[in-house]
């Protein structure tokens, strides 16, 4: 696929995010498709961070490692990132950051270019962006317009002015030989958005009618708390930063009991703290959506690095047995629609629903066509009719599906009792053995119903002898790696799992029938989805291709891993 890949690298606090925002939004408005990933350390200042910004005339499903441009915001970044720059690529830096580097691809911007008021490191991001835009053959007015639009309200007028003058001056500095307009045309579309998967999830929650959200700050899930918190007052959503993740889930459960659509969000470490309350949602049959932005564990692990290693812990989280669902979007578009659907699953089956993502995808941004509201439906599930007079409610009436009609306390005349203990139909505690069997089997029956109601895996590129099983952010790189590997004689189908638990063995068996070999490619050591498919469905998974270095899976990574795993075996 024709594309241009830009790496912006520097220390934390140097404006990588701002540069990315300006470049991303500008390319979006020019009509290009954009895919941005963030690679950062757990620190506020210093260190080495970078982002990749890939753009194309076609939709992009993943990031790539090899770059066409490097914007080095400090000297260290030249040394660390020049290796990933293509032979015909260009690297830009300020005069003061050049150091001893003497690479033919390096273009150094003298301090004399631009106004005196725009000297120093804090102008590096804008100046190097201006060099990039000039090299791409875009008129400087476009970039200046974006700077004005995005920074107009954030910067003091004189600083904004200095930035704008710098953009104009730097543009004319680029040599004609370095001007290389894209070989692909943009494909403009009205309404297109550039959005992170986390933001798409937050929007999906809003579309689903969320009323209450709670969380404790943690990478990478804080951005959902931020977005819902910021927009809460205008949308009528109550958002609270709780004292810990234990409180966050208990709060969401309370809100759901009292009639709101409620969710909480965290990452693996917070999910570990929530374990007890996950069981509470299970036994009280309280619908709740729990977002897990998976990151590298265990314990604090690598706080800003990605992993897909929470799946089995979520399937088993909390003691005892109870039904729950695990849903994972494969990309940004999915993030919106599945986040909305997660609430329907929670309400329909009155279970905790884990909506999961991984850090790499959660933070990455992609261009999407505006979400189609008509594809979102809101279904609150079974509700009980009102009684003539106030009376205790059989909240846990035994039914064939295992789902009992709900009533909302204080919104209805029913007196609604929910209990963390094993309980009778009225929510009153009892350890009577016959009742235990009735209530426990009632709850557990929901697993069969859910599995039957969930779609099975989607098979992409069907009919190949080899199938690669994937979930979440590995799907995009697998899709994009396919044409390259086909040239090398390696072809594969992809089985994409969105509804990860509970699984229907019949649907899974049918989808995976006929493949000679089945591998899972996951960002973990043990091959968790592969294990789950073996355990739940008896699927014959021959091997696991694992990546657990905490870094985002690029197209090259996927191709390399598949080539070494499958190369000699076809």
């Amino acid at each position: 696929m024709k594309h241009i890949n830009i790496v912006i690298a520097g220390a934390a606090g140097q404006g990588i995010q701002s540069a990315g925002e300006i470049l991303g939004k500008t390319l979006l408005r020019l009509g290009y498709h954009v895919f941005i990933t963030h690679d950062y350390q757990s620190r506020v200042r210093g260190g080495h961070n970078f982002m990749t910004l890939r753009f194309s005339g076609e939709p992009l499903a993943a990031s790539v490692r090899s770059s066409d441009y490097l914007l080095a915001l400090n000297e260290e970044s030249i040394g660390l990132r020049l290796g990933g720059l293509g032979a015909k690529g260009l690297a830009f830096c300020l005069e003061g950051d050049k150091g001893n580097h003497a690479d033919a691809r390096l273009r150094v911007l003298p301090d004399s270019i631009g106004p005196a008021s725009a000297r120093g490191a804090k102008f590096a991001a804008v100046k190097l962006s201006a060099m990039l835009f000039a090299s791409l053959g875009f008129p400087p007015e476009i970039l200046a317009g974006s700077v004005k639009k995005i920074f107009g309200e954030r910067l003091k007028p004189e600083i904004l002015q200095a930035n704008l003058e710098a953009v104009a001056a730097v543009a004319s500095f680029i040599e004609p030989i370095d001007i290389r307009p894209p070989s692909f045309a943009p494909a403009p579309s009205a309404g297109r958005m550039l959005i992170s998967a986390n933001d798409a999830i937050a929007l999906g929650m809003v579309a689903a009618g969320i009323g209450v959200y709670a969380g404790y700050p943690i990478t990478p899930s804080t951005s959902i708390l931020n977005l819902l918190g910021t927009e809460g007052p205008s949308l009528g959503i109550a958002v609270e930063q709780t004292e810990d993740e234990i409180a966050a889930l208990n709060l969401a459960i309370g809100a759901s009991y009292a009639g709101a659509r409620a969710a909480c969000g965290s990452s693996g470490a917070g999910l570990s703290l929530m374990a007890e309350a996950i069981g509470l949602a299970g036994i009280t049959e309280t619908p709740v959506v729990i977002y897990d932005g998976q990151r590298s564990g265990p314990a604090v692990g690598m706080a800003t690095r990605t992993e897909q290693a929470d799946l089995l812990s979520l399937v088993h989280s909390s003691h005892g047995e109870f039904p729950r669902a695990v849903i994972c979007p494969v990309d940004h578009e999915d993030s919106f629609y599945l986040a909305a659907e997660a609430f329907n699953v929670a309400d329909a089956w009155q279970v905790p629903v884990f909506l999961i993502n991984d850090l790499g995808q959660a933070n990455s941004e992609s261009t999407l066509e505006e979400f189609d509201i008509s594809r979102v439906r809101i279904d609150r599930g079974l509700m009980a009719p009102e009684p003539a007079e106030s009376a205790p409610f059989a909240r846990y009436a035994v039914t064939e599906s295992g789902v009992s009609p709900r009533a909302v306390p204080a919104m209805s005349k029913w007196l609604v009792s929910c209990d963390s203990h094993e309980h009778d139909e009225y929510g009153h505690l009892t350890d009577n053995p016959a009742n235990r069997v009735r209530q426990h089997s009632k709850r557990m029956r929901k697993l069969d119903g859910m599995a039957a109601s969930f779609p099975g895996p989607e098979i992409i590129n069907p009919g190949r002898p080899v199938c690669v099983i994937a979930w979440g952010s590995t799907v995009g790189p697998l899709l994009e790696a396919a044409p390259t590997l086909k040239e090398k004689g390696i072809e594969y189908s992809i089985a994409v799992f969105r509804y990860l638990y509970p699984l229907d063995p019949v649907k899974v068996g049918q989808a995976l029938k006929g493949f000679e070999r089945i591998y899972s490619l996951e960002q973990n050591y043990t091959g968790q989805l592969g294990k789950l498919l073996r355990m739940e469905c008896g699927a014959a998974i021959q091997g696991h291709i694992g990546k657990y270095d905490g870094r985002i899976l690029t197209v090259e990574d996927a191709a390399g891993l598949l080539e070494s795993a499958l190369g000699g075996k076809l």
């Binding site: 209450v212 949308l235 810990d244 969401a252 007890e276 005349k413």
Partner: protein, 285 residues
Amino acid sequence: MTCAETFDFHEPQWCPGCGNFDILVCFKEALCGLGLKPQEFIMVTGIGQASKLGFSVKCNLFDGLHGRALPVATGINMANHKVKLISVSGDGDYYGEGGNHFIHAARRNLNIAVFAGDNRVYGLTKGQASPTSSPGFVTPIHPEGVGGKPISPVLLALASGATFVARAFSGNKEELSGLMRQAIEHKGFALVDIMSPCITFNKTNTFGWFKNRAKPVGPGHDPSSFEAAIKLASAEQDSIATGVIYKACRPAFDARFSALKGETIAARTADFVPGRVRPLFERFK
């Protein structure tokens, strides 16, 4: 049927002579005194013998995890800021397992009445020390006596930002039910720490021990003074003050949300259509 009988539900299963019986009687009296009907409030309880009171009151009930009643109540308040919230549990639940939640619910000034049956011992698990057990209290786990200093629920609530702090003795029913009534009517976090004997597992802090020490605050105490409240709660030795120790007016947790003005979120949920997300799309263009 008397008013109190309209709240009768499951027969409680405490030891004869347990202070919880008196707390239950006073609670029903307080509800009747306020004219509350079973469907007009939600009880949120935790785990422990004191918490089991919830099963004996006909009402809406969420009986949650040990120590976690207050976060559940916070969520209920956010979904329905109009419904009265009452939480009943014990010293182990509020001040031990749920200590962090207690502090933060008080800090938020969550609009709730919290009735803590404080018997200074773990009854349900048969006689371990609680956060309020006296120094030197002997248990099988602490044969040499509990070390450290007991938590003062009153000082903890005061320091955490509670806006109604009271103490009662389960044996003084008239005072207790009056304090419960005031706590339920209070707008904000209202704690009534109820000294209550565990006749089976606490042979130190007996009915007589509490009775001899419980001294209602006189007209000389000014409950609107934070300093006076701290001083009163700090000076406890042979006499323990009961009654309203502190009462202040500060906006309750739900008052700071514009989302919680007017109709409740629970009531508006039916109007939340998918299209309400549309204005947010502009942020990403």
